[in-house]
Point group: C2
Protein backbone atom coordinates (compact mmCIF):
# COMPACT_ATOMS: atom_id res chain seq x y z
CA UNK A 1 0.00 0.00 0.00
CA UNK A 2 1.57 3.18 -1.19
CA UNK A 3 1.20 6.48 0.64
CA UNK A 4 2.82 9.83 1.04
CA UNK A 5 3.34 12.74 -1.32
CA UNK A 6 4.19 11.71 -4.85
CA UNK A 7 3.06 8.13 -4.49
CA UNK A 8 0.00 6.76 -6.22
CA UNK A 9 -2.73 6.20 -3.63
CA UNK A 10 -5.73 4.19 -4.74
CA UNK A 11 -9.25 3.48 -3.61
CA UNK A 12 -12.13 1.25 -4.59
CA UNK A 13 -15.79 2.14 -4.24
CA UNK A 14 -18.23 -0.61 -3.28
CA UNK A 15 -21.85 0.32 -3.98
CA UNK A 16 -24.35 -1.88 -2.19
CA UNK A 17 -27.90 -2.27 -3.34
CA UNK A 18 -30.39 -4.16 -5.47
CA UNK A 19 -32.01 -0.89 -6.50
CA UNK A 20 -28.91 0.23 -8.39
CA UNK A 21 -28.43 -3.17 -10.05
CA UNK A 22 -32.05 -3.33 -11.20
CA UNK A 23 -31.75 0.02 -12.94
CA UNK A 24 -34.49 1.47 -10.75
CA UNK A 25 -32.16 4.05 -9.17
CA UNK A 26 -29.42 5.96 -10.95
CA UNK A 27 -26.27 5.98 -8.83
CA UNK A 28 -24.70 9.40 -8.44
CA UNK A 29 -22.54 8.66 -5.40
CA UNK A 30 -19.60 7.34 -7.41
CA UNK A 31 -19.12 10.64 -9.15
CA UNK A 32 -19.16 12.58 -5.86
CA UNK A 33 -16.80 10.15 -4.14
CA UNK A 34 -14.36 10.01 -7.06
CA UNK A 35 -14.10 13.79 -7.27
CA UNK A 36 -13.79 14.18 -3.51
CA UNK A 37 -11.07 11.54 -3.23
CA UNK A 38 -9.30 12.96 -6.28
CA UNK A 39 -8.93 16.31 -4.56
CA UNK A 40 -7.39 14.47 -1.60
CA UNK A 41 -4.82 12.72 -3.80
CA UNK A 42 -6.59 9.36 -3.91
CA UNK A 43 -7.53 7.82 -7.29
CA UNK A 44 -10.58 5.59 -7.57
CA UNK A 45 -9.22 2.58 -9.44
CA UNK A 46 -12.14 0.14 -9.34
CA UNK A 47 -15.84 0.12 -8.57
CA UNK A 48 -18.10 -2.80 -7.79
CA UNK A 49 -21.85 -2.81 -7.39
CA UNK A 50 -23.22 -5.82 -5.53
CA UNK A 51 -26.66 -6.94 -4.32
CA UNK A 52 -27.98 -6.88 -0.74
CA UNK A 53 -26.43 -10.28 0.04
CA UNK A 54 -23.97 -10.59 2.95
CA UNK A 55 -21.65 -13.07 1.24
CA UNK A 56 -21.44 -10.95 -1.92
CA UNK A 57 -20.69 -7.77 0.02
CA UNK A 58 -18.14 -9.42 2.32
CA UNK A 59 -16.43 -11.24 -0.56
CA UNK A 60 -16.09 -8.10 -2.67
CA UNK A 61 -14.93 -6.05 0.32
CA UNK A 62 -12.17 -8.51 1.20
CA UNK A 63 -10.87 -8.48 -2.37
CA UNK A 64 -10.97 -4.71 -2.63
CA UNK A 65 -9.48 -3.83 0.76
CA UNK A 66 -6.52 -6.11 0.03
CA UNK A 67 -5.90 -4.62 -3.41
CA UNK A 68 -6.39 -0.87 -2.82
CA UNK A 69 -5.27 1.62 -0.18
CA UNK A 70 -8.84 2.56 0.76
CA UNK A 71 -12.37 1.32 0.20
CA UNK A 72 -15.48 3.49 0.45
CA UNK A 73 -18.83 1.71 0.60
CA UNK A 74 -22.26 3.27 0.17
CA UNK A 75 -25.67 1.90 1.07
CA UNK A 76 -27.28 -0.60 3.41
CA UNK A 77 -26.76 1.12 6.78
CA UNK A 78 -30.37 2.05 7.55
CA UNK A 79 -32.76 0.42 10.03
CA UNK A 80 -34.63 -2.00 7.76
CA UNK A 81 -34.09 -5.75 7.38
CA UNK A 82 -32.39 -5.28 3.99
CA UNK A 83 -29.73 -3.03 5.56
CA UNK A 84 -27.02 -5.59 6.13
CA UNK A 85 -23.82 -3.71 5.38
CA UNK A 86 -22.68 -3.65 9.04
CA UNK A 87 -23.18 -7.42 9.25
CA UNK A 88 -21.27 -7.90 6.00
CA UNK A 89 -18.36 -5.67 7.05
CA UNK A 90 -18.10 -7.45 10.40
CA UNK A 91 -18.12 -10.80 8.58
CA UNK A 92 -15.42 -9.59 6.17
CA UNK A 93 -13.16 -8.50 9.06
CA UNK A 94 -14.05 -11.55 11.19
CA UNK A 95 -15.20 -9.39 14.12
CA UNK A 96 -18.42 -9.00 16.12
CA UNK A 97 -20.83 -6.09 16.01
CA UNK A 98 -21.33 -4.13 19.22
CA UNK A 99 -23.97 -1.57 20.07
CA UNK A 100 -22.40 1.86 20.42
CA UNK A 101 -23.80 3.53 23.55
CA UNK A 102 -23.06 7.03 22.26
CA UNK A 103 -25.23 6.48 19.19
CA UNK A 104 -28.06 5.10 21.34
CA UNK A 105 -27.81 8.09 23.70
CA UNK A 106 -27.97 10.52 20.78
CA UNK A 107 -30.97 8.71 19.31
CA UNK A 108 -32.80 8.86 22.63
CA UNK A 109 -32.79 12.63 22.48
CA UNK A 110 -34.59 12.59 19.13
CA UNK A 111 -36.66 9.49 18.53
CA UNK A 112 -38.20 6.47 20.15
CA UNK A 113 -35.42 3.89 20.05
CA UNK A 114 -37.20 1.04 18.28
CA UNK A 115 -35.43 -2.31 17.72
CA UNK A 116 -35.11 -1.28 14.06
CA UNK A 117 -33.39 2.02 14.91
CA UNK A 118 -31.19 0.16 17.40
CA UNK A 119 -29.76 -1.77 14.42
CA UNK A 120 -28.17 1.47 13.23
CA UNK A 121 -26.02 1.69 16.38
CA UNK A 122 -24.23 -1.56 15.54
CA UNK A 123 -20.54 -1.00 14.77
CA UNK A 124 -17.91 -3.67 14.04
CA UNK A 125 -15.50 -4.20 16.96
CA UNK A 126 -12.37 -2.13 16.36
CA UNK A 127 -14.21 0.39 14.22
CA UNK A 128 -14.65 4.14 14.66
CA UNK A 129 -17.44 6.51 13.73
CA UNK A 130 -17.86 8.74 10.67
CA UNK A 131 -19.78 11.88 11.56
CA UNK A 132 -23.17 12.42 9.94
CA UNK A 133 -23.91 16.15 9.79
CA UNK A 134 -27.14 15.71 7.83
CA UNK A 135 -29.53 13.45 9.70
CA UNK A 136 -29.62 10.07 11.35
CA UNK A 137 -26.85 8.03 12.94
CA UNK A 138 -23.18 8.10 11.88
CA UNK A 139 -21.34 5.93 9.40
CA UNK A 140 -18.29 4.00 10.53
CA UNK A 141 -14.76 3.08 9.56
CA UNK A 142 -12.69 -0.03 10.19
CA UNK A 143 -9.21 -0.73 8.86
CA UNK A 144 -8.93 1.00 5.47
CA UNK A 145 -12.70 0.91 4.90
CA UNK A 146 -15.20 3.78 5.20
CA UNK A 147 -18.87 2.78 5.42
CA UNK A 148 -21.24 5.56 4.34
CA UNK A 149 -24.97 5.96 3.76
CA UNK A 150 -26.53 5.42 0.34
CA UNK A 151 -28.83 8.47 0.32
CA UNK A 152 -26.75 10.98 -1.70
CA UNK A 153 -27.27 14.03 0.56
CA UNK A 154 -26.29 12.04 3.65
CA UNK A 155 -23.40 10.36 1.85
CA UNK A 156 -21.97 13.74 0.83
CA UNK A 157 -22.25 14.95 4.42
CA UNK A 158 -20.42 11.91 5.79
CA UNK A 159 -17.70 12.26 3.16
CA UNK A 160 -16.61 15.52 4.81
CA UNK A 161 -15.40 13.46 7.77
CA UNK A 162 -13.33 11.15 5.56
CA UNK A 163 -10.82 13.41 3.78
CA UNK A 164 -8.76 14.41 6.83
CA UNK A 165 -8.15 10.73 7.61
CA UNK A 166 -6.68 9.91 4.19
CA UNK A 167 -2.98 9.81 3.45
CA UNK A 168 -3.26 11.01 -0.11
CA UNK A 169 -0.54 11.00 -2.71
CA UNK A 170 0.10 13.57 -5.37
CA UNK A 171 -3.15 14.88 -6.77
CA UNK A 172 -3.89 13.79 -10.33
CA UNK A 173 -4.35 16.93 -12.41
CA UNK A 174 -6.38 16.98 -15.58
CA UNK A 175 -6.85 19.25 -18.58
CA UNK A 176 -9.25 18.91 -21.49
CA UNK A 177 -8.64 19.74 -25.14
CA UNK A 178 -11.83 19.85 -27.17
CA UNK A 179 -11.87 19.01 -30.88
CA UNK A 180 -15.01 19.86 -32.79
CA UNK A 181 -15.93 18.81 -36.33
CA UNK A 182 -13.37 15.99 -36.49
CA UNK A 183 -14.09 12.40 -35.51
CA UNK A 184 -11.86 10.04 -33.56
CA UNK A 185 -10.77 8.34 -36.79
CA UNK A 186 -8.89 11.54 -37.70
CA UNK A 187 -7.81 12.50 -34.18
CA UNK A 188 -6.40 9.08 -33.34
CA UNK A 189 -3.04 9.33 -35.14
CA UNK A 190 -1.74 12.63 -33.68
CA UNK A 191 -3.20 11.68 -30.29
CA UNK A 192 -1.36 8.37 -30.28
CA UNK A 193 1.93 10.00 -31.28
CA UNK A 194 1.71 12.36 -28.30
CA UNK A 195 0.55 9.56 -25.96
CA UNK A 196 3.52 7.39 -26.94
CA UNK A 197 5.92 10.25 -26.25
CA UNK A 198 4.52 10.56 -22.71
CA UNK A 199 4.07 7.01 -21.45
CA UNK A 200 3.52 8.05 -17.82
CA UNK A 201 0.59 10.30 -18.71
CA UNK A 202 -3.00 9.25 -19.29
CA UNK A 203 -4.57 10.56 -22.51
CA UNK A 204 -8.16 9.59 -23.18
CA UNK A 205 -10.53 10.45 -26.01
CA UNK A 206 -14.23 10.83 -25.22
CA UNK A 207 -16.33 11.47 -28.32
CA UNK A 208 -19.50 13.52 -28.24
CA UNK A 209 -22.38 13.71 -30.66
CA UNK A 210 -24.99 16.42 -30.63
CA UNK A 211 -27.30 17.74 -33.32
CA UNK A 212 -25.13 19.72 -35.71
CA UNK A 213 -22.00 19.15 -33.67
CA UNK A 214 -19.62 16.29 -33.08
CA UNK A 215 -16.08 15.84 -31.91
CA UNK A 216 -14.13 14.57 -28.93
CA UNK A 217 -12.91 15.72 -25.56
CA UNK A 218 -9.28 14.72 -25.15
CA UNK A 219 -8.54 14.43 -21.45
CA UNK A 220 -4.93 14.55 -20.26
CA UNK A 221 -4.10 13.41 -16.73
CA UNK A 222 -0.85 13.57 -14.84
CA UNK A 223 0.52 14.07 -11.35
CA UNK A 224 3.24 16.30 -12.87
CA UNK A 225 1.96 19.83 -13.57
CA UNK A 226 4.90 20.78 -15.82
CA UNK A 227 4.62 17.68 -17.98
CA UNK A 228 0.85 18.17 -18.17
CA UNK A 229 1.27 21.75 -19.40
CA UNK A 230 3.88 20.74 -21.97
CA UNK A 231 1.76 17.86 -23.23
CA UNK A 232 -1.33 20.03 -23.66
CA UNK A 233 0.70 22.37 -25.90
CA UNK A 234 2.26 19.48 -27.77
CA UNK A 235 -1.13 17.86 -28.39
CA UNK A 236 -2.71 21.03 -29.69
CA UNK A 237 0.26 21.53 -32.03
CA UNK A 238 0.11 17.92 -33.24
CA UNK A 239 -3.63 18.16 -33.95
CA UNK A 240 -3.19 21.39 -35.89
CA UNK A 241 -0.25 19.92 -37.81
CA UNK A 242 -2.60 17.09 -38.83
CA UNK A 243 -4.98 19.64 -40.36
CA UNK A 244 -7.47 19.68 -37.49
CA UNK A 245 -8.36 23.33 -36.97
CA UNK A 246 -11.19 23.49 -34.42
CA UNK A 247 -9.06 22.68 -31.36
CA UNK A 248 -9.15 24.50 -28.04
CA UNK A 249 -8.47 23.87 -24.43
CA UNK A 250 -11.71 24.04 -22.42
CA UNK A 251 -12.33 24.41 -18.70
CA UNK A 252 -12.88 21.22 -16.76
CA UNK A 253 -16.46 20.69 -15.66
CA UNK A 254 -17.10 21.67 -12.07
Amino acid sequence: MASGQGAVVTAAVLIIGDEILSGRTQDTNLRDIARYLGVHGVDVSEVRIVPDVIEEIAGALNQLRAKYDYVVTTGGIGPTHDDITADAVAAAFGVELYEDPGIIAEMQGKWEVTPARRRMARIPAGGGLVRNPVQGPPGFTIGNVFVLAGVPSIMRGMLQDVGHRLKGGAVTLSRTVRVAGSGEGVIAAPLETVAKAHPTMSLGSYPFFAPGCFGSNLVLRSRDAAELEATVRELIAALKAAGITDVAEVAEEA
Copy 2:
Protein backbone atom coordinates in the same frame (compact mmCIF):
# COMPACT_ATOMS: atom_id res chain seq x y z
CA MET B 1 -25.58 -21.55 -15.79
CA ALA B 2 -29.32 -21.55 -15.47
CA SER B 3 -31.64 -20.85 -18.37
CA GLY B 4 -35.20 -21.41 -19.52
CA GLN B 5 -38.52 -20.16 -18.25
CA GLY B 6 -38.76 -19.99 -14.48
CA ALA B 7 -35.02 -20.21 -13.91
CA VAL B 8 -32.98 -17.30 -12.62
CA VAL B 9 -30.77 -15.99 -15.40
CA THR B 10 -28.05 -13.55 -14.42
CA ALA B 11 -25.75 -11.04 -16.03
CA ALA B 12 -22.86 -8.84 -15.04
CA VAL B 13 -22.09 -5.44 -16.54
CA LEU B 14 -18.45 -4.46 -17.03
CA ILE B 15 -17.99 -0.74 -17.58
CA ILE B 16 -14.61 0.17 -19.03
CA GLY B 17 -13.13 3.60 -18.70
CA ASP B 18 -10.97 5.97 -16.71
CA GLU B 19 -13.48 8.77 -17.28
CA ILE B 20 -16.16 7.03 -15.23
CA LEU B 21 -13.72 6.16 -12.42
CA SER B 22 -12.43 9.71 -12.19
CA GLY B 23 -15.94 11.08 -11.72
CA ARG B 24 -15.59 13.17 -14.85
CA THR B 25 -18.40 11.37 -16.63
CA GLN B 26 -21.62 10.13 -15.03
CA ASP B 27 -22.38 6.61 -16.22
CA THR B 28 -25.95 6.10 -17.41
CA ASN B 29 -25.43 2.92 -19.40
CA LEU B 30 -25.92 0.62 -16.40
CA ARG B 31 -29.46 1.82 -15.87
CA ASP B 32 -30.38 1.29 -19.54
CA ILE B 33 -28.76 -2.14 -19.68
CA ALA B 34 -30.31 -3.32 -16.40
CA ARG B 35 -33.80 -2.32 -17.48
CA TYR B 36 -33.38 -3.79 -20.96
CA LEU B 37 -32.06 -7.11 -19.65
CA GLY B 38 -34.77 -7.18 -16.96
CA VAL B 39 -37.48 -7.08 -19.62
CA HIS B 40 -35.75 -10.04 -21.27
CA GLY B 41 -35.74 -12.08 -18.06
CA VAL B 42 -32.08 -11.49 -17.19
CA ASP B 43 -31.16 -9.96 -13.82
CA VAL B 44 -28.03 -7.83 -13.51
CA SER B 45 -26.33 -9.29 -10.43
CA GLU B 46 -23.00 -7.49 -10.35
CA VAL B 47 -21.31 -4.50 -11.93
CA ARG B 48 -17.64 -3.66 -12.16
CA ILE B 49 -16.03 -0.50 -13.40
CA VAL B 50 -12.38 -0.86 -14.36
CA PRO B 51 -9.73 1.41 -15.86
CA ASP B 52 -8.40 1.36 -19.43
CA VAL B 53 -5.82 -1.33 -18.59
CA ILE B 54 -5.84 -4.61 -20.54
CA GLU B 55 -4.97 -6.82 -17.56
CA GLU B 56 -7.70 -5.27 -15.39
CA ILE B 57 -10.34 -5.62 -18.09
CA ALA B 58 -9.36 -9.20 -18.97
CA GLY B 59 -9.13 -10.27 -15.32
CA ALA B 60 -12.54 -8.87 -14.43
CA LEU B 61 -14.09 -10.31 -17.59
CA ASN B 62 -12.80 -13.81 -16.87
CA GLN B 63 -14.21 -13.71 -13.32
CA LEU B 64 -17.57 -12.37 -14.45
CA ARG B 65 -18.14 -14.61 -17.47
CA ALA B 66 -17.48 -17.68 -15.31
CA LYS B 67 -19.87 -16.56 -12.56
CA TYR B 68 -22.85 -15.19 -14.53
CA ASP B 69 -24.89 -16.36 -17.54
CA TYR B 70 -24.05 -13.23 -19.55
CA VAL B 71 -21.68 -10.29 -19.45
CA VAL B 72 -22.28 -6.97 -21.19
CA THR B 73 -19.33 -4.60 -21.51
CA THR B 74 -19.44 -0.94 -22.49
CA GLY B 75 -16.67 1.34 -23.62
CA GLY B 76 -13.27 1.19 -25.23
CA ILE B 77 -14.17 0.07 -28.75
CA GLY B 78 -13.39 3.28 -30.63
CA PRO B 79 -10.40 4.03 -32.89
CA THR B 80 -8.04 5.76 -30.45
CA HIS B 81 -5.04 4.27 -28.66
CA ASP B 82 -6.95 4.11 -25.35
CA ASP B 83 -9.63 1.87 -26.91
CA ILE B 84 -8.28 -1.51 -25.89
CA THR B 85 -11.41 -3.51 -25.12
CA ALA B 86 -11.05 -5.78 -28.17
CA ASP B 87 -7.45 -6.57 -27.17
CA ALA B 88 -8.56 -7.27 -23.58
CA VAL B 89 -11.46 -9.53 -24.63
CA ALA B 90 -9.18 -11.48 -26.98
CA ALA B 91 -6.65 -11.84 -24.15
CA ALA B 92 -9.37 -13.02 -21.75
CA PHE B 93 -10.55 -15.69 -24.20
CA GLY B 94 -7.01 -16.58 -25.28
CA VAL B 95 -7.73 -15.95 -28.96
CA GLU B 96 -6.32 -13.69 -31.68
CA LEU B 97 -7.97 -10.63 -33.18
CA TYR B 98 -8.72 -10.72 -36.89
CA GLU B 99 -9.74 -7.89 -39.20
CA ASP B 100 -13.34 -8.36 -40.34
CA PRO B 101 -13.49 -7.72 -44.11
CA GLY B 102 -17.21 -6.85 -43.97
CA ILE B 103 -16.57 -4.02 -41.53
CA ILE B 104 -13.72 -2.68 -43.65
CA ALA B 105 -15.91 -2.83 -46.78
CA GLU B 106 -18.69 -0.93 -45.04
CA MET B 107 -16.22 1.69 -43.78
CA GLN B 108 -14.83 2.21 -47.28
CA GLY B 109 -18.22 3.40 -48.47
CA LYS B 110 -18.26 6.16 -45.85
CA TRP B 111 -14.81 7.24 -44.69
CA GLU B 112 -11.16 7.12 -45.47
CA VAL B 113 -10.00 3.90 -43.81
CA THR B 114 -7.19 5.24 -41.64
CA PRO B 115 -5.07 2.85 -39.54
CA ALA B 116 -6.99 4.16 -36.51
CA ARG B 117 -10.38 3.34 -38.01
CA ARG B 118 -9.04 -0.06 -39.10
CA ARG B 119 -8.60 -0.85 -35.38
CA MET B 120 -12.39 -0.85 -35.05
CA ALA B 121 -12.69 -3.77 -37.48
CA ARG B 122 -10.71 -6.06 -35.16
CA ILE B 123 -12.89 -8.89 -33.78
CA PRO B 124 -11.74 -11.77 -31.56
CA ALA B 125 -11.58 -15.08 -33.43
CA GLY B 126 -14.79 -17.03 -32.86
CA GLY B 127 -16.79 -13.87 -32.25
CA GLY B 128 -19.81 -12.49 -34.07
CA LEU B 129 -21.00 -8.96 -34.73
CA VAL B 130 -23.53 -6.84 -32.83
CA ARG B 131 -25.35 -4.51 -35.21
CA ASN B 132 -24.85 -0.77 -34.76
CA PRO B 133 -27.91 1.05 -36.11
CA VAL B 134 -26.69 4.48 -34.94
CA GLN B 135 -23.29 5.26 -36.40
CA GLY B 136 -19.87 3.73 -36.71
CA PRO B 137 -18.79 0.10 -36.79
CA PRO B 138 -20.56 -2.77 -35.00
CA GLY B 139 -19.97 -4.19 -31.54
CA PHE B 140 -19.22 -7.87 -31.15
CA THR B 141 -20.04 -10.93 -29.12
CA ILE B 142 -17.96 -13.92 -28.10
CA GLY B 143 -19.07 -16.75 -25.83
CA ASN B 144 -21.51 -15.28 -23.31
CA VAL B 145 -20.05 -11.77 -23.63
CA PHE B 146 -21.52 -8.79 -25.54
CA VAL B 147 -19.12 -5.92 -26.24
CA LEU B 148 -20.89 -2.61 -26.81
CA ALA B 149 -19.89 1.02 -27.32
CA GLY B 150 -19.62 3.43 -24.40
CA VAL B 151 -21.41 6.41 -25.99
CA PRO B 152 -24.95 6.06 -24.57
CA SER B 153 -26.89 6.64 -27.79
CA ILE B 154 -24.78 4.09 -29.67
CA MET B 155 -24.87 1.64 -26.75
CA ARG B 156 -28.67 1.76 -26.68
CA GLY B 157 -28.80 1.13 -30.41
CA MET B 158 -26.49 -1.90 -30.16
CA LEU B 159 -28.51 -3.28 -27.24
CA GLN B 160 -31.44 -3.83 -29.62
CA ASP B 161 -29.40 -6.57 -31.30
CA VAL B 162 -28.70 -8.33 -27.98
CA GLY B 163 -32.16 -9.23 -26.57
CA HIS B 164 -33.12 -11.81 -29.19
CA ARG B 165 -29.91 -13.73 -28.45
CA LEU B 166 -30.60 -14.10 -24.73
CA LYS B 167 -32.18 -17.15 -23.15
CA GLY B 168 -33.99 -15.28 -20.43
CA GLY B 169 -35.70 -16.77 -17.43
CA ALA B 170 -38.88 -15.61 -15.77
CA VAL B 171 -39.06 -11.84 -15.74
CA THR B 172 -38.65 -10.27 -12.31
CA LEU B 173 -41.75 -8.18 -11.62
CA SER B 174 -41.71 -5.26 -9.25
CA ARG B 175 -44.24 -3.11 -7.43
CA THR B 176 -43.68 -0.06 -5.25
CA VAL B 177 -45.53 0.92 -2.07
CA ARG B 178 -44.85 4.50 -1.04
CA VAL B 179 -44.96 5.56 2.61
CA ALA B 180 -44.93 9.28 3.31
CA GLY B 181 -44.49 11.00 6.65
CA SER B 182 -43.02 7.96 8.40
CA GLY B 183 -39.33 7.14 8.60
CA GLU B 184 -37.67 3.78 8.18
CA GLY B 185 -37.39 3.41 11.95
CA VAL B 186 -41.17 3.03 12.09
CA ILE B 187 -41.60 1.15 8.84
CA ALA B 188 -38.93 -1.44 9.62
CA ALA B 189 -40.92 -3.72 11.96
CA PRO B 190 -44.00 -4.37 9.78
CA LEU B 191 -41.77 -4.56 6.70
CA GLU B 192 -39.57 -7.19 8.28
CA THR B 193 -42.57 -9.27 9.38
CA VAL B 194 -43.84 -9.39 5.81
CA ALA B 195 -40.37 -10.03 4.40
CA LYS B 196 -39.85 -13.00 6.74
CA ALA B 197 -43.20 -14.48 5.69
CA HIS B 198 -42.06 -14.39 2.04
CA PRO B 199 -38.43 -15.51 2.02
CA THR B 200 -38.26 -15.97 -1.76
CA MET B 201 -39.30 -12.38 -2.41
CA SER B 202 -37.09 -9.31 -2.38
CA LEU B 203 -38.39 -6.39 -0.29
CA GLY B 204 -36.26 -3.26 -0.18
CA SER B 205 -36.75 0.08 1.51
CA TYR B 206 -35.43 3.20 -0.23
CA PRO B 207 -35.89 6.33 1.88
CA PHE B 208 -36.43 9.73 0.33
CA PHE B 209 -36.03 13.20 1.80
CA ALA B 210 -37.37 16.33 0.17
CA PRO B 211 -38.27 19.73 1.63
CA GLY B 212 -41.47 19.21 3.60
CA CYS B 213 -41.70 15.56 2.68
CA PHE B 214 -39.98 12.38 3.71
CA GLY B 215 -40.73 8.69 3.64
CA SER B 216 -39.67 5.54 1.87
CA ASN B 217 -40.36 3.63 -1.32
CA LEU B 218 -40.83 -0.02 -0.48
CA VAL B 219 -39.99 -2.06 -3.56
CA LEU B 220 -41.24 -5.63 -3.81
CA ARG B 221 -39.74 -7.96 -6.42
CA SER B 222 -40.72 -11.46 -7.41
CA ARG B 223 -40.91 -13.74 -10.43
CA ASP B 224 -44.32 -14.96 -9.19
CA ALA B 225 -47.09 -12.49 -10.10
CA ALA B 226 -49.62 -14.02 -7.70
CA GLU B 227 -47.29 -13.96 -4.71
CA LEU B 228 -46.26 -10.41 -5.60
CA GLU B 229 -49.89 -9.24 -5.67
CA ALA B 230 -50.65 -10.98 -2.37
CA THR B 231 -47.55 -9.53 -0.72
CA VAL B 232 -48.33 -5.98 -1.81
CA ARG B 233 -51.76 -6.27 -0.12
CA GLU B 234 -50.26 -7.90 2.96
CA LEU B 235 -47.62 -5.19 3.28
CA ILE B 236 -50.12 -2.34 2.98
CA ALA B 237 -52.32 -4.01 5.62
CA ALA B 238 -49.33 -4.55 7.95
CA LEU B 239 -48.22 -0.91 7.63
CA LYS B 240 -51.74 0.36 8.36
CA ALA B 241 -52.06 -2.03 11.32
CA ALA B 242 -48.84 -0.46 12.67
CA GLY B 243 -50.52 2.96 12.61
CA ILE B 244 -48.88 4.18 9.39
CA THR B 245 -51.64 5.87 7.41
CA ASP B 246 -50.04 7.56 4.39
CA VAL B 247 -49.45 4.38 2.41
CA ALA B 248 -50.23 3.85 -1.25
CA GLU B 249 -49.08 1.78 -4.14
CA VAL B 250 -47.49 3.98 -6.78
CA ALA B 251 -46.70 3.34 -10.42
CA GLU B 252 -43.17 2.21 -11.20
CA GLU B 253 -41.04 4.82 -12.88
CA ALA B 254 -40.88 4.43 -16.63
